[in-house]
Symmetry: C2
Subunit: 349 residues, 2 copies
């Protein structure tokens, strides 16, 4: 009832030729006039622009690209959208990419190497000029990363980076911050401190665990068999782990968690079991989510500069693409900050 007929093919836009024939001049002149070049008569310029407006002319970027041989597009591969971390990083990327006049093709690997590989190929087929990637927790498609780089498509890793590939990377200093977070608990006077660790294959997991262990060692704290429990990235695992500990009656005084969701899951378990945080068990999260401030008690957490991470990664990639020769691969380590809140305050001290 309301719709104009709409063939399966795209609507025909006005082209240079349309304007040219309407004005009985050549397409070349039209092209030059529209590009506002010096070597064209002011009067023709005026007429052409007028006609262009009249016909609602829009330049066809696809034709331009065919000629320029660059797509002005960069690809992005993130594992998932289950927390706000990646969406916020993407906001940062978008900002830089827009400013640089590039476009962004966003894909999700759903945490599997197979989908990641498919996405990489998709991006390659679309002639992206570079790729930003945060790898899956299953592992790396290292061979393909290298292949892409060798074939001239630069890659910048962020957050979850490849350990084997030489390329620009953007990370936060997980080790140092995990170390600090653990020390914070130690200095607060907690003794039996545990760590809920992330997915085993991730570099960030290893770094945070290393930071935890080193801090414990430095202060000569005992590390028992259960001191480090692998709990993954989602809240239900933190919940289960804490339930398990409580039911075994093996209560830590404090737990440094891999991330906020895990910590929040643990918090839920603590409350359900009639215990109190931080009185009975103190908690520290990681990678600050909005919720950290909203729960009761507010959660101590390490705040990652997510938006900035996106900006920096995008800038590094665009430098790789546009500069000749490209800058050497550097690893940028962003500094995070710890927001100390009630969940890690030692009330007994």
């Amino acid at each position: 009832m309301q719709n104009v007929s709409n063939t399966a093919v795209m609507k025909k836009y006005a082209t240079l030729k349309d304007i040219a024939t309407a004005l009985k001049i050549s397409t070349a002149t039209v092209s030059r006039a529209l590009a506002d070049r010096w070597d064209v008569n002011a009067e023709t310029k005026r007429i052409v622009c007028e006609e262009a407006k009249r016909q609602n002319y829009k330049p066809n970027p696809i034709a331009k690209r065919l000629q320029n041989r660059h797509s002005k597009t960069i690809g992005l591969v993130v594992p998932e959208f289950k927390t706000l971390f990646f969406p916020i990083v993407i906001s940062g990327i978008q900002k830089v990419v827009d400013e640089a006049g590039f476009q962004l093709l966003i894909t999700q690997s759903q945490e599997t190497m197979e989908v990641e590989l498919r996405n990489l190929k998709l991006l390659e087929n679309n002639m992206v000029e570079g790729i930003l990637i945060s790898i899956t927790r299953e592992g790396e498609n290292s061979d393909y990363y290298q292949e892409l780089i060798d074939s001239g498509i630069p890659i910048v890793f962020f957050n979850r980076v490849s350990s084997s590939i030489v390329a620009p990377k953007v990370i936060i200093d997980d080790y140092k911050l995990a170390f600090f977070a653990t020390e914070h608990l130690i200095y607060s006077g907690f003794n039996k401190i545990y760590h809920f660790a992330g997915p085993e294959k991730l570099a960030v997991t290893k770094e945070r665990k290393r930071g935890f262990l080193d801090a414990m060692k430095k202060h000569q704290r005992e590390i028992s068999e259960n001191s480090v429990l692998t709990t993954g990235v989602y809240s239900d695992k933190g919940y289960e782990a804490m339930k398990m500990l409580i039911q075994k009656n093996e209560l830590p005084q404090a737990v440094f968690c891999f991330n906020d969701p895990t910590a929040l899951g643990a918090l839920k378990a603590i409350k359900e079991e009639g215990l109190k945080c931080p009185d009975d068990i103190a908690l520290v999260g990681f990678s600050e989510t909005e919720m950290a401030q909203l729960v009761d008690p507010p959660l101590t957490s390490v705040q990652q500069p997510s938006f900035e991470m996106g900006e920096v990664a995008a800038r590094l990639l665009i430098a790789q693409i546009t500069q000749n020769p490209p800058p050497d691969a550097e690893t940028v380590c962003l500094t995070a900050k710890m927001n100390i809140r009630k969940s890690s305050i030692n009330v007994k001290k």
Copy 2:
């Protein structure tokens, strides 16, 4: 040190011509062979494929598009990434779009009409074949929506839809669910019930408010001046509104909140003021976030089918693009469900 020289122009891919000259045959034959067409010698086919592989040939999608005159790309405009709602919707969209062999260009309007308009133009310039949009809370670029539709680029609205444009839309029945949520509080025996409403210009705000008011009227509840407070979408506003009420000592028994963040902000204020939820003030949220289950008390909330909303919207758009004539504009109303949790249980009853 590790990088091959990399001009500002894209790496030269092997083309049909490269294969043709290498094999001393015509590009046409190569093209046909690679397309696996019947009218080409099996042997030549084999040789061509071999050579293609050897040269690592990748068809140039840009050239194809120039010819086909369709970009196989659809555009998406969302307001922001501040909650997980849109990221999850996007996951649903991605799924359908991938299956249909389309690509997705994602943009954010940052809740301003100006950026939204810029994004729409960007998408148009990139020859997207259709647009999915959830409008800003500032208002609508109605004229431009219509212009796009008239010029042959179909638009599908989802979640936050245009009120003036005739086009396919996907919504949830906010009115009905707000009505139910309010009735739930009424049936639970709460008397003084308030509503924290969303941004004024949004249709969803109006619908939810209308549902609230109608339910109140149906059960002859008094509606005072402060019964409906505008609090926006973020937690801090819910926090402030609740603080204000408590400090004015104008305590509602229950509040139906525009969304979960608002409710969680309100919850924080309640606790800070030494009150209890649901004992002193009960809460109901909307659009279920992961946090609803994690806070204490767990928050009653209306669970929107976010992923499904993305799927449905994408399917509608692809139907508009590929079917001739396109289907009439329909408004799909998805059903949501209420998850009743402790925050709205009347302990005195």
